[in-house]
């Protein structure tokens, strides 16, 4: 076989190579034919194929002959050939299938309880699998609906983060936010880019049309947006949109909200984005589906964004997510070099400066540009983005579904084994009459498949029924009608057949293994040893116990968070955005409101701040004695500390009357520790790195409070009244008296609308804002609790059935014991003892594993409960009492039977 290494330059040699290849092709073809073709037919077929090959060789040339040969051979790969005479015995067996079906349905009908237990367990398992299939399918379907999805990329930047480096993490932090001029330069100088648009969402504006005034979320985009993405434009022309700066595009929902049934095109509305402007509606675009990474309700040209003009030359302001579409057949790798040159040209000096300022080690780049394919955005957790989800959740959910279906399958197996006594005679007689083991296996396999299919129907029904709550739990918008039907049915069938096989194979093998002579001779007790059931039950218990422990820990942690003293009062506080933009006006709103509210007795405090809890934060980095430090900064007013009831460890609160307080700061204990101050009140914090002056005077120290979520430590923070440097009061906090909240809310609203009839009254409750920080954890707690519930339910059903069989097996024994004078209690004890042991064994296996898993989970909280022995004790007790409760029904029933009843037939 030297042709592989041979050179193809030499003509004669290449001829040789070719014929060698041909011979090989023919040989290979024939070998494949030989593999599947019954030997007695092989020669005739091979001869015919070769004859055709020779004919083709003479008439149509070598290439065609070869192709025909292979093609003709492949056509022989059909059941008529390879199944021929091989499965004749099997084929005759189909005669029995009618009988199997009849026996199976009779058996299912006769043992209603067991069939019910099996069917319910399996249906719940299948329903879970279906739901989780839908979930995973939805995760994978993100952004797949865009026609140009393969050519659209989101640009990401990776830059060196001093804070991450300080924390000892990998310092290159990825983000989708880019400087505005970078995008412009890319579009102008890199020909591979066909379209480019920024996409800034998450901002709000006050939308006004006639008497309708509401705050709306708006997204800023560019004209290319409509050419790149496949969101259907329902009215207006995609090519023409956003030629003018004052155009606006709405989704049908918004259009109906403001214009009712009237045609929205051409309507003029007022939008207040840091200043009012008239906008003309030029298009209606369909709202993105739930599986879109881009979501919006209102689109506005990006030129209207506040700071846009200023940011056009700001290479240092990273605030514009940028999407590009490349010309067909280009990939970002093609012009990576050009991009690097471009960045160097435009930003080179700046980057050098940053490296120097930030003391960035040479081995890391300061700034790097990379790309994420549109369809990869959703599962890319490196770059934070709206709706991004961790693929590990799919795995966790899949695991849960698997566990539940496993538990249900175990029910089937253990019940089939324990009740197998009643099938023994049947098996014996079938064997004597001439059934082969293979036939019996297929008979019992068929039975489990029938049950699995019945469960499939119930399971699909359950899945449809539970889809809305499931959507709520997982925060998804899955619609059963939008699912690919073929794929769905295919997977459902696959799951069902798989379950049928997994659950049915062991019982089928076990049942078909009886020796007919032994079975039919009789003379053995009605009790049957199926030793394998015990490990199965232990395993089932183990799974349930682990889930119980996890749920209890999660519940405890959530409870801990809910009642944990955060160090400030967050009850009865309304958070109202001042809706006046980022300027002096905002401060005035708070002042005016405070004046009006002073006459309202139900309002106790009014305070202003730059950002309320869970509504954002800002953080400043500064250098003190060549050391990098950072602190969170909140712009507040004097009422802030009073309203939140912050405790002052040292010093005092701000005072309006003291002029110097406007540049003073109040710090938290963490900052004092960070700076290593002994007498903080004598200190100045030079956080703006003034070369002249000492910085801000510290006038007070507040006790640490959790201004961030409990996932984080309490980090250095200070409060300031310095509006020029720390911002304006964009949020107003209003504290009301305890009592009827809706009445208080009305009063607050009345004051607001009295003052600002043209501004929408948006509000949230601070305690809810704080609680919302843990929504994702709560969601997972609910999912775990729900699955635990189902898992336990199914396991208990199985246990119930098992206990029933066991009690029946021992009726005679119980009768004799009672005759001999056994107490009810001792019989109960005897019957339940083994289950207690099984439960304890399972539990001792579950405890360390769930301890490990839960320690990991709690690791994401800086403030977490410690997993103590009492958690395990509670879980064990709960599990055990549930198990005992389940098995006791049968035990009590069996123990109460009059012994005469059971013994008189002897």
């Amino acid at each position: 076989m030297n042709f592989e290494s041979g050179s193809y330059n030499n003509n004669s040699k290449s001829q040789q190579t070719k014929s060698a290849l041909d011979a090989r092709a023919v040989r290979f073809t024939m070998r494949f034919l030989n593999w599947f073709c019954p030997p007695e037919l092989y020669e005739g077929i091979e001869g015919d194929l070769l004859e055709q090959f020779d004919y083709d060789l003479q008439h149509s040339g070598l290439e065609k002959a070869k192709r025909n040969l292979i093609w003709n051979m492949l056509k022989f790969f059909r059941p008529g050939i390879f199944m021929r005479n091989r499965f004749t015995i099997q084929l005759i067996n189909t005669i029995m299938w009618g009988n199997y079906l009849k026996v199976a349905t009779r058996n299912i009908a006769r043992r209603k309880l067991y069939s019910f237990i099996n069917a319910i367990g399996l249906s719940i398992g299948i329903a879970f699998c279906i739901l989780i299939f839908l979930y995973i399918d939805d995760e994978r379907s993100f952004d797949q609906f865009h026609e140009n999805k393969d050519q659209i990329y989101r640009l990401n930047e990776a830059s060196y983060s001093v804070w991450a480096a300080e924390r000892g993490e990998y310092p290159m932090e990825k983000s989708a936010y880019l400087p505005l001029p970078l995008g412009t330069a890319l579009k102008n100088e890199i020909p591979e880019i066909q379209y480019l648009t920024r996409f800034n969402s998450g901002q709000t504006a006050i939308f006004r049309y006639e008497d309708k005034v509401f705050t709306e979320h708006i997204a800023f985009v560019e004209a290319d947006f409509f050419k790149m993405f496949s969101f259907p434009v329902l009215a207006g022309s995609a090519e023409q949109l956003f030629k003018d700066k004052y155009e606006i595009v709405l989704t049908p929902e918004i259009a109906t909200k403001y214009f009712g049934k009237e045609d929205p095109i051409g309507k003029v509305i007022t939008l207040d984005i840091q200043g009012e402007h008239q906008f003309t509606v030029s298009g209606v675009i369909e709202e993105p589906p739930s599986n879109s990474s881009l979501s919006f309700k209102i689109l506005v040209p990006i030129e209207n964004q506040f700071w846009y003009e200023r940011n056009r030359e700001q290479w240092g302001s990273f605030s514009y997510p940028t999407f590009i579409q490349l010309h067909a057949n280009t990939s970002p790798d093609d012009f990576q070099a050009k991009v690097d040159t471009l960045i160097n040209k435009k930003m080179g000096d700046r980057l050098k400066q940053w490296r120097k300022d930030g003391k960035i080690p040479d081995e890391y780049p300061v700034f790097e540009l990379s790309y994420t394919k549109l369809t990869d955005i959703h599962l890319n957790t490196e770059v934070s983005w709206d709706k991004v989800s961790d693929p590990k959740y799919s795995w966790i959910l899949g695991g849960i579904a698997l566990l539940i279906i496993l538990i249900a399958s175990i029910n089937y197996i253990s019940l089939a084994l324990t009740t197998s006594a009643s099938r023994r005679i049947e098996v014996g007689i079938r064997k004597v009459v001439g059934a082969q083991k293979k036939q019996l296996v297929s008979q019992f396999g068929l039975e489990s498949l029938i049950l699995a299919f019945v469960s499939l129907f119930i399971g699909v029904g359950l899945a449809v029924l539970f889809l809305p709550p499931f959507n709520e739990f997982t925060g998804k918008g899955i619609n059963i009608y939008s699912v690919n039907a073929l794929q769905f049915i295919g997977s459902a069938l696959l799951i069902t057949v798989l379950v049928g096989i997994v659950a049915g194979s062991y019982p089928a093998l076990f049942l078909s293994g009886f020796l007919p002579a032994a079975v039919l001779k009789g003379g053995f007790t009605s009790k049957l040893k199926a030793g394998f059931t015990k490990p199965l039950v232990v395993f089932q218990f183990f799974l349930s116990a682990s889930m119980i422990i996890c749920s209890v820990v999660m519940y405890r942690q959530m409870e801990f968070i809910a009642v944990k003293d955060l160090g400030f009062d967050h009850e009865q506080v309304l958070v109202i955005p001042t809706q006046a933009g980022w300027n002096e006006e905002a401060d005035k709103v708070v002042e005016q409101f405070r004046n009006k509210a002073s006459t309202e007795p139900s309002i106790t405090h009014v305070a202003g701040t730059s950002s309320s809890f869970n509504q954002g934060w800002s953080r400043y980095g500064y250098k003190i004695k060549d050391e990098n430090k950072s602190a969170y900064v909140y712009r507040v007013d004097p009422a802030y500390a009073e309203l939140l009831n912050l405790e002052f460890v040292e010093g005092r609160n701000f005072d309006e009357r003291i002029a110097s307080d406007s540049t003073a700061i109040v710090v938290n204990e963490a900052l004092v520790r960070d700076m290593g101050w002994d007498n903080p009140l004598d200190e100045y914090l030079n956080w703006r790195e003034d070369s002249v002056g000492l910085g801000s005077k510290v006038i007070g120290v507040v006790k640490d409070y959790h201004f961030l979520s409990l996932e984080r430590d309490i980090e250095p923070m200070f409060l300031s009244m310095d509006k020029r440097n720390t911002g304006y009061l964009t949020s107003m906090l209003v504290k009301v008296n305890p009592g009827d909240l809706s009445d208080k809310l009305d009063r607050v609203k009345k004051i607001w609308t009295g003052l600002y009839p043209d501004k929408p009254f948006d509000y949230s409750f601070m305690d809810q804002d704080v609680a919302n920080q843990y929504q994702a954890y709560k969601r997972w707690m609910k999912i775990t609790a729900l699955s635990t519930g189902f898992a336990i339910f199914i396991a208990c059903l199985g246990l119930f059935g098992l206990a029933g069989v066991n009690a029946i097996n021992r009726t005679k024994e119980i009768g004799i014991r009672k005759v001999m004078g056994a107490e009810l209690f001792s019989i109960l004890f005897m019957l339940n003892r083994q289950y207690v042991w099984l439960a304890i064994i399972a539990f001792s296996l579950a405890a360390p594993i769930s301890w490990y898993v839960m320690t990991k989970w709690l690791g994401s909280f800086k403030y977490a409960i410690t997993i103590s022995w009492d958690l395990f004790a509670i879980s064990l007790l709960a599990g055990l009492s549930l198990a005992l409760f389940t098995v006791s029904y049968h035990a009590i029933k069996a123990a109460n039977v009059n012994p005469a009843e059971t013994l008189k037939y002897e």
Partner: protein, 109 residues
């Protein structure tokens, strides 16, 4: 009743076996069908049909002598049995009977 019925393709192949006599084997039948009817049929389909006809007892097969033509492979020669011949005849007659029942004059111009 299964044995009394032939599919269209089965009937075609069976007829060809009858026509070709001693030279009826897979590829020859394919070529014959092509020549006489201009119809392209699949070699594997012909084989499968032949085996099925054999199962039903309409043809029988034996291996012919080796030649040089087919890489030395022998041909599997099929011959039509009396049952097969009767079957063809029955089907033909039944068809002609049916054909006669069509009121043809009605449609003549």
């Amino acid at each position: 009743m299964n044995k009394d019925y032939l599919g269209e393709f089965e009937e075609l192949v069976l007829t060809m076996v009858g026509i070709l006599g001693e030279e009826a084997y897979g590829i020859a039948i394919v070529n014959e069908i092509h020549e006489r009817l201009g119809r392209e049929v699949n070699l594997s389909a012909v084989h499968v049909t032949l085996y099925r006809l054999e199962d039903k007892g309409h043809v029988k097969s034996r291996m012919g002598g080796a030649t040089n033509a087919r890489g030395g492979r022998r041909k599997r020669i099929f011959t039509i049995t009396n049952a097969g011949l009767a079957m063809l005849k029955n089907m033909k007659e039944a068809r002609i009977d049916l054909w006669r029942m069509i009121p043809q004059l009605k449609y003549s111009v």
